[in-house]
Amino acid sequence: MTVLNRRTLIKIGGAAAALPLLGGAAFAQEKLKVAFVLIGTPDDNGWNFGHDTGRKYMLDKIGADKVETTVVTNVAEGPDSERVFRELAQQGHKLIYATSFGFGDYVHKVAKQFPDVKFEWATGNATAANVSTYNAKFHEGRAVVGTIAGMMTKTNTIAYIGSFPIPEVRMGINAYAIAARKVNPEVKIKVVYVDSWFDPAKEADAARALIDQGVDVITQHTDGPAALQVAEERGIVGGFGQGADMSAFAPKAHLTAIIDNWGPHYVKSVQSVLDGTWAEGSVWDGISSGEVEIGKYNEKIPADVVAAAEKVKNDISAGTLHPFAGPIKDNAGTERVAAGDIIDDGEFWAVDWYAEGVEA
């Protein structure tokens, strides 16, 4: 593996441009070159960590003799990313993962110029002949932790620290609230948006504000362990890791974690390029295919709670339980989803209401 920043990439790009002159045919067994473009660094314990862990898993499964990877870190979501994608394509990468939503426009632009290079855009919403999208159903994990929160809370007040009121976050809140109220109809869900994906000091203050107002279980939809650390310090029932296991930060408060596991998808998609079967598509998997995992349970969680959480997880995996199965009322009391109905994957992105019990 080579870790590159944008500057060394330019230098290597210059050297690599001369390489094809030496004759590519000389290498009988040429390795597939795969690139990962990250918005941050792999040691963020969250989003980027998840993608890099997936890359390592893929390398391990496919084998370093068949594939080699390049990681470009700290690429801003903006016009400059276009240059990064173009250089990677020019250097002979045949499969390029753009792991953030804001890369989309530039991926599509460069993809048109390199029709034989495959691009995959994480959390994207538009495909092309050589651009696929992939995403994970994190809200399935929210249903599992919501079950734990509903059963563990003593104050019947649980919380969700959100980044921005976008559909993905709103549906995370709804999945959490619906699952919690299924096991505890008394429970209230307080929501605080911190208006950032990353502001540890503000996330921590949000957690303090929530705990001071009676909350005893917190989950967060931002990229760090700040809220969990406050939960640990204040000695409340607990919270959940987001993206990765965060128990190192809060051994007592860390109840379990929703873990992003991109590995299985990376294995599948790299293998399909090796086999020549890669095709345009849109992947949105969850617990059943292993993209969303639940971490290990804190030993303080009673056995019946673990059993209930495991049942929710297994039922979602088996397809017998849908996180958004009706009847669902919104927080003003209006029925939004009738009994026997569900919110399907298409309707998901258009939901603009909060489920019953949510105070947002």
Binding site: D44, K190, S196, D212
Partner: protein, 309 residues
């Protein structure tokens, strides 16, 4: 709203205000000497990462704070060398210092990400802070008490001491100060180093009070608020204290009001987040109206000192 909740809000707001207050106090002294250092954010990040590294390696909070102050002061001296000795543009060099601090802290901090740091707790016996009312007085980290003492010390230094008078003279009229024999560049070097040390200690507040960990860009723009606050306070230490706590109050009320939900939530989320900045603009407008448009900024602020020209 119960008394307990009011106390909780006060304790959170004091924590949120302290790093801003410390950094702004340092910058106030720098600007009083006639130098504008826009690198506060970068120096805070250097302070924060050094704090985490030293605490994780030695376990000693005090040593960590001292090292943070020294490291940030050293970074400030790079700025000082470029702007004071080489007369480089202060705005550009200050911005470069922020970029340097951001990059250095990210690189240096890599081995320390993903590790929890022990908090620096109240120096008073826990029994004193057990009662909620007493907690408002005794429940804070030592850095909070330090910041309050520094407000008084800096006010006293600028207002009551001969050295403070010289520093102000250098900032108001460097050529006059030079002509009666005061070392303008030397005074400014000392002020810049002091400002760096204070920004470094402000950086220490993040892992030691607010969120006990290291991640890249941990301070997320608080250094820029500190810079605005110096102008907001019209270069006066006690007004700076009020301003920092007002900012802290607005930031804290935001999360408490959102957490309260329901009728409490009268403003949209984005407007809450914009409030500290709107308050700054409002106060600046009010100040400049009252003074008939004239500013209370040190007269030589941001100008290079070139005695021979």
């Amino acid at each position: 709203m119960t008394l307990d909740l009011v106390i909780a809000i006060i304790i959170t707001l004091v924590g949120a205000s302290t790093p801003i207050l410390l950094a702004a106090l340092g910058e106030l002294v720098v600007e009083k000497s006639g130098v504008l250092n826009l690198g506060v954010e970068g120096m805070m990040l250097i302070g924060a990462v050094i704090t985490v590294a030293v605490v994780l390696v030695t376990g000693n909070h005090w040593l960590a704070i001292a090292c943070a102050a020294l490291a940030a002061a050293a970074a400030a001296l790079i700025f000082g060398f470029l702007t004071l000795s080489l007369s480089a543009n202060q705005v550009a060099t200050g911005l470069a210092l922020t970029i340097l601090g951001t990059g250095f802290s990210a690189l240096f901090g890599q081995p320390y990400t993903g590790k929890a740091v022990p908090l620096l707790r109240s120096p008073f016996p826990p029994e004193l802070a057990a009662d909620p009312v007493w907690r408002v007085i005794f429940g804070y980290s030592p850095l909070v008490y330090f910041s309050l003492i520094m407000v008084f010390v800096i006010w006293w230094f600028l207002k009551k001491t001969r050295a403070g008078l010289i520093l102000r003279a250098v900032g108001e009229n460097d050529l006059s100060a030079h002509s009666i024999g005061y070392p303008v560049i030397g005074v400014r070097y000392l002020a810049v180093a002091f400002g760096g040390a204070m920004a470094g200690i402000a950086g220490s507040c993040f892992p030691l009070i607010l969120t006990p960990q290291w991640v890249e860009r941990l301070t997320t723009g608080r250094g820029w608020i500190a810079l605005a606050l110096v102008v907001f306070a019209a270069w006066r230490p006690f007004r700076l204290l009020g301003g920092a706590y007002l900012f802290g109050l607005v930031m804290t009320l935001e999360v408490y009001a959102k957490a309260a939900g329901g009728g409490f939530r009268v403003l949209p989320s984005e407007l809450w987040a914009a409030l500290p900045y709107l308050a700054t603009i409002l106060v600046l407008v009010l100040i400049s109206m009252r003074r008939g448009g004239s500013s209370s900024a040190p007269a030589c602020l941001g100008k290079p000192f070139l005695p021979t020209s």
